[in-house]
């Protein structure tokens, strides 16, 4: 297995070809008490691409996300990361493979500083135990310093470098969303999963986030899988789009094709997708 701890060399813009897909869902179903949130969903995410998962509310996008990251158990099907099956692993093990995610609800403990929040994501990249930290052993100090370097890099990319020592609680929502993004970056993941990264923020901030996501992908060679409702954001950024409706895939193609797909337009009842199609 590749050593995911080494920082990845910067990749080219276009997604790489060859080798197993970075992420692959095959016939995935997720059930809640008899209701299928996700039904026989299959799609793959090419390494180094930005892949969007869209669909009307209740389509099963979040459930897919949670199924990939091990929060939900699959009723059937499989999820593979670089050809290796991950759907039976526990969430923490999946994270340690280099799959990082953000949360819609922003999991940023209020009383921590921005830097501390980001540092939590470094957990599985470092090793110092309680004793080593408590006694201030050299290894612990060394890790602290290298953590700080990664934190500063990620913060700069996300645009939160100047507030690293501020407490997260009082920060405005848009800024906290950027912190959440920076936090996921700190894990130096190979797959970055973004759960509605621009929900609830204005157009300027959305544009900044799009820019940051693209930069992150280009500089670190990440693969990005995102769930979003904002069509502009998705259309500008995505290399490929998978559309869900009522737990099933109704389209899985490049943005231009998806835009024009009648089934997709119907699913959204016209408005958002048509507008984007007119651009």
């Amino acid at each position: 297995m590749t050593d995911l701890r080494q920082p990845l060399a910067p990749r080219q813009q276009t997604p790489a070809a060859g080798g197993p897909p970075e992420l692959e869902l095959s016939g995935v179903s997720v059930c809640f008490g008899g209701v299928n949130a996700v039904s026989q969903v299959s799609f793959s995410v090419t390494r180094g691409s930005i892949h969007a998962l869209i669909g009307p509310n209740g389509a099963g996008k979040s459930s897919c996300f949670n199924a990939i990251t091990g929060v939900y158990r699959l009723a059937e099907g499989r999820v593979a990361h670089r050809g290796e099956r991950i759907d039976q692993l526990r969430a923490a093990r999946i994270a340690r493979r280099g799959i990082a995610r953000t949360f819609q609800n922003l999991v940023l403990p209020e009383s921590l500083t921005v830097a501390e929040c980001m540092r939590v994501a470094r957990h599985h990249r470092t090793h110092a135990g309680f004793l080593a930290t408590g006694l201030g052993l050299p290894r612990a100090r060394r890790e602290e310093r290298s953590d700080r370097a990664v934190i500063e890099r990620s913060a700069e990319l996300a645009g939160v470098a100047d507030i690293l020592d501020e407490r997260v609680g009082p920060l405005p929502y848009g800024v906290r969303k950027r912190v959440e993004f920076a936090r996921a970056l700190c894990a130096e993941p190979s797959v970055l999963m973004l759960d509605e990264p621009v929900a609830g923020i204005n157009d300027t901030e959305s544009a900044q986030m799009a820019h940051a996501v693209r930069r992150a992908r280009d500089e670190a060679g990440l693969t990005v899988l995102l769930v979003e409702h904002d069509m502009n954001f998705v259309m500008t950024l995505a290399d490929r789009i998978t559309v869900l409706q009522s737990g099933q895939v109704i389209a899985d193609a490049a943005p231009e094709e998806v835009r024009a797909d009648p089934a997709v337009i119907a699913a959204y009842l016209g408005d958002d997708v048509e507008e984007a199609a007119r651009d």
């Binding site: 809640f32 979040s62 949670n66 929060v71 949360f103 819609q104 609800n105």
Partner: protein
């Protein structure tokens, strides 16, 4: 054989009392999400007032006074202490109830002092004998009353608006509030009912085998906590099953203590927790508790 039968019967009766206490605990948890560590103080308060008042005005008046007092303390705790707390997390409020417990138990212990307050109950130490088995009347009465109350509560739970509100509030508080369930009323009435049940159970626990109300009553009360937890903190049937399980286990241990050697004496006080550990090892959410599925 008769010994075994007696032990089981005693256990069922004791268990029904634990079920009553545990049920109050579960109702409070379902309605407000708080693990009420003050529950044992409600029990002690009720039993104390019962004893104090029945000394002057007779048993029934005393019992009424005790139940009302405990209900009032429960309602007060929810209405004032918990309602006005700035820290409203479940952990914070549960810990807060612990503080209430300390205050209440300390005060009542101070009043009881070194005495054992007699209850003036109508059963005293009388026993029934049939088929070679000896059963204390007070225990039979306990079982009858507890069963009636539990049945009554289940009816309330199933068929009244209040019961419906309780079921809904447990499921989703926000939705419940939005749909117009009177959350405030459901909250304090749950605490009051919890207190009342605890007081009744407390009276029976103090009636037999103890000669009356002593501060150590709280130890018995605390054994209902594992009963509630092992059944599943939010499960009504769980409270019933848990209470019975612990009651029977305790009674059997007490009867056969001698066989456990020197370590055995007093072990009946522990068996509740041993059973709890055993259950939690296999089912961390309790026998019938709902597994928490959190939304992320």
């Amino acid at each position: 054989m008769t010994r075994l039968l007696e032990a089981v019967l005693n256990g069922v009766s004791l268990g029904s009392l634990y079920s009553l206490i545990a049920l109050g605990f579960v109702i409070i948890f379902r309605a407000t999400g708080v693990m009420n560590f003050a529950h044992s103080s409600f029990l002690l308060a009720g039993a104390y007032v019962t004893a104090a008042v029945s000394a002057k005005s007779g048993f029934l008046v005393g019992l009424l006074a005790g139940v009302v007092t405990a209900a009032a303390i429960g309602a007060f705790t929810q209405l004032v202490i918990l309602r006005f707390s700035k820290d409203k997390s479940h952990l914070g409020l549960s810990v807060l109830s612990l503080g209430v417990n300390i205050l209440a138990v300390t005060e009542i212990t101070r009043r009881i002092g070194d005495n054992t307050l007699p209850l003036h109950d109508p059963w005293q130490a009388s026993v029934w004998r049939f088929a070679g088995i000896t059963v204390p009347v007070s225990r039979v009465a306990a079982l009858a009353v507890a069963a009636a109350l539990l049945a009554g509560f289940l009816l309330l739970f199933r068929f009244t608006r209040w019961g419906l509100a309780l079921r809904v509030s447990a499921a989703d508080r926000e939705v419940a509030a939005l749909v117009g369930v009177p959350m405030g009323r459901v909250s304090w009435t749950s605490w009051a009912i919890g207190g009342a049940m605890a007081a009744l159970a407390g009276m029976f626990l103090a009636a037999f085998p103890a000669p009356g109300v002593e501060p150590s009553l709280t130890n018995s009360a605390m054994r209902a906590f594992p009963a509630a937890v092992l059944g599943g903190l939010d499960s009504i049937p769980g409270a019933l099953v848990g209470g019975l399980a612990i009651g029977i286990a305790e009674s059997l241990t007490a009867t056969y203590e001698g066989h456990l050697g020197g370590f055995g004496s007093g072990a009946s006080g522990l068996v509740a927790y041993v059973v709890l550990f055993a259950v939690l090892l296999l089912r961390p959410d309790g026998l019938f508790g709902t597994k928490v599925v959190s939304r992320v």
